[in-house]
């Protein structure tokens, strides 16, 4: 990717290439994410409709494919109403505070061997730091709205995110132990060699915990008490309309993409092929299936996104105390125990990883 962009901008003075190439990468990723989020909404509505035995959106564009664009245009031409006695400055910054960390986290995420904006050593730590940021958008939105419903939503969300972040962090500790690095590219490299070498087998409990806490972190069903439309109307964004609401919506879907991508990268080998290292495909016409590619990552990410919607259509919402119980008394102990188990596996030399 870097070489391609360098060739593309060859006409520029060489000093400016250093700035132009990362900038172009950011633009490409940003456009991909926003389009991805738009089609994700359509995907979600179609999946849910299928599970409800409905047709779902089918009016705008061929088979309804452009439904999200119609929604976005509708939201952007609506008025942004600032409630009376609301804190105007924070009310308008809160949506940005939830979108910016969601987008900034993508800086350290590799999409294949070469496409990464910032290849830093402490990638996982950076991700943890940024995901802990996103709670401020929700809290400040709830407080600045000057509405009891929004405030309740913000309080619930804050407690929930703080609780599940710990489980998430511990799951990542397991991954970095297994991968021997904090860099996401190195973690994928450590999983090379087919489906049996991926971390989801030795780290299965952590994989499970990570994905569940990911759902809770993004405030998706069945952990969406922050929105809880049957109890507190729409939770933290009840007072938001128009473009400000659209930004919250975008942030939620970008975060879902982020969690799905991270789960694929850390537990399902990222862009590694399902068939890498298989003896059956070697030297046949299907050998190309063994190559690592961004398409494999896309398949894995789509599966996790589908799981998000599948869970949404299948489960009733958790009660608040049950969420807390699940987070603190089930998920966190599981991760702590499994990190211990992993340490023992290291000592006994069991498992696919090498002792550094």
């Amino acid at each position: 990717m870097d070489e391609f962009l360098t060739i593309l901008f060859d006409f520029l003075p060489p000093e400016s290439i250093r700035f132009v190439v990362p900038f172009m990468k950011i633009i490409i990723l940003l456009v991909a994410l926003i389009l991805g989020a738009a089609f994700l909404v359509f995907f979600e509505r179609k999946v849910i409709a299928f599970m409800h035995q409905r047709i779902g959106p089918n009016r705008v564009g061929p088979k309804g494919w452009f439904q999200s664009f119609a929604d976005v245009i509708k939201l952007f031409i609506k008025e942004v109403i600032v409630p009376s006695n609301a804190d105007r400055f924070l009310f308008l910054t809160a949506p940005l505070l939830s979108l910016i960390p969601a987008l900034a986290a993508w800086a350290v995420i590799p999409l294949n061997e070469t496409f990464i904006i910032a290849d830093i050593d402490a990638g996982i730590l950076y991700l943890l730091a940024l995901t802990s940021f996103s709670v401020y958008g929700v809290i400040l939105a709830g407080w600045a709205s000057n509405s009891k419903y929004a405030f309740l939503g913000a309080m619930r969300s804050a407690a929930q995110m703080v609780a599940y972040e710990i489980a998430m962090g511990f799951a990542l500790v397991g991954v970095l132990m297994a991968g021997g690095s904090l860099n996401l590219g190195d973690i994928v490299a450590a999983q090379s060699g087919g489906i049996l070498h991926w971390f989801w087998i030795p780290l299965f409990p952590l994989f499970f915990v990570y994905f569940i806490s990911g759902i809770a972190e993004t405030n998706r069903h069945p952990f969406d008490v922050a929105e809880g439309e049957s109890e507190i109307v729409a939770g933290f964004h009840v007072e938001y309309s128009g473009a400000a609401f659209a930004i919250f919506f975008l942030a939620e879907y970008v975060n879902m993409l982020l969690i799905a991508t991270l789960t694929s990268i850390m537990f399902l080998g990222g862009w590694e092929s399902f068939f890498a290292g298989s003896n059956y495909l070697m030297n046949t016409s299907l050998e190309f299936l063994m190559e690592p590619s961004i398409l494999w990552l896309a398949v894995k990410v789509s599966f996790f996104l589908f799981t998000f919607f599948w869970l949404r259509a299948s489960f009733p919402r958790y009660r608040y105390d049950q969420i807390m119980k699940l987070g603190w008394k089930v998920l966190i102990p599981i991760t702590i125990i499994w990190i211990g188990v992993e340490g023992v596996m290291f000592l006994a030399n069991v498992g696919p990883w090498k002792v550094a």
């Binding site: 050593d121 402490a122 730590l125 730091a129 802990s132 940021f133 401020y136 703080v162 105390d321």
Partner: protein, 201 residues
């Protein structure tokens, strides 16, 4: 002026301004937000010194956890501005005194060590840069300083246990959900099938 120095001065001035904001804003929520911003800017300054582990942990711990709880509490308070300013005025001389002492100490420290200080390089950058400083710190903590590290961790754990046990209260007659009982319930004891006369025809 080098690019890195410009960045240093920009971040330092933001840091000073936000720190002033913490004590000068009348709205406690805005104070908390300035504090968050000052943490983030000091993390950026640490990044300039190539201490990326410390910088990210500062954000992770203080911004991600401590300040969330801070904001949580501050939002639920409903102190009027008047009370807050009068209280501030009352403790201002004392706070000023302590602040002066801290500034004095810092100046002495910098004075003594002035030959070793530099704006954009740190002892960390002198060390081996082929491995990240996360690895360096980890190795140091788990080899040379293992006992002090473990003792510190144990004291923190103790503090958590003590503070929870101090605030734990059991109320009488509190209804709790016991999942195992719910799962093990015998349906025949819960439900009674009744034959109604009107059904027999």
């Amino acid at each position: 002026m080098a690019f890195i120095e410009i960045i240093f001065y920009v971040f330092s001035s933001i840091l000073v301004l936000t720190s002033l904001g913490v004590i000068l804003f009348k709205n406690p929520v805005y104070s908390a937000i300035s504090l968050i911003l000052s943490f983030i800017t000091s993390a950026a300054l640490w990044l300039l010194l190539q201490a990326e582990f410390l910088a990210i942990v500062l954000i992770l711990v203080y911004v991600g956890a401590v300040m969330v709880l801070f904001l949580f509490v501050v939002m639920m308070l409903n102190i009027s501005d008047v009370i807050r300013t009068s209280r501030f005025n009352k403790i201002a001389p004392f706070a000023l005194f302590i602040g002066l002492i801290i500034v004095g100490e810092l100046i002495t420290l910098i004075w003594i060590r002035s030959d070793q200080f530099s704006m954009t390089s740190s002892p960390i950058s002198v060390l081996d840069t082929s491995v990240g400083n996360t690895t360096l710190l980890g190795t140091a903590l788990f080899t040379d300083y293992l006992y002090s590290f473990e003792i510190a961790g144990f004291i923190l754990l103790l503090a958590i246990v003590v503070s929870i046990s101090l605030t734990l209260r059991r109320r009488e007659g509190l209804k709790r959900q016991i999942v195992s009982e719910q799962v093990n319930i015998d349906p025949t004891k819960r439900m009674k099938l009744v034959d109604l006369k009107s059904e027999k025809n």
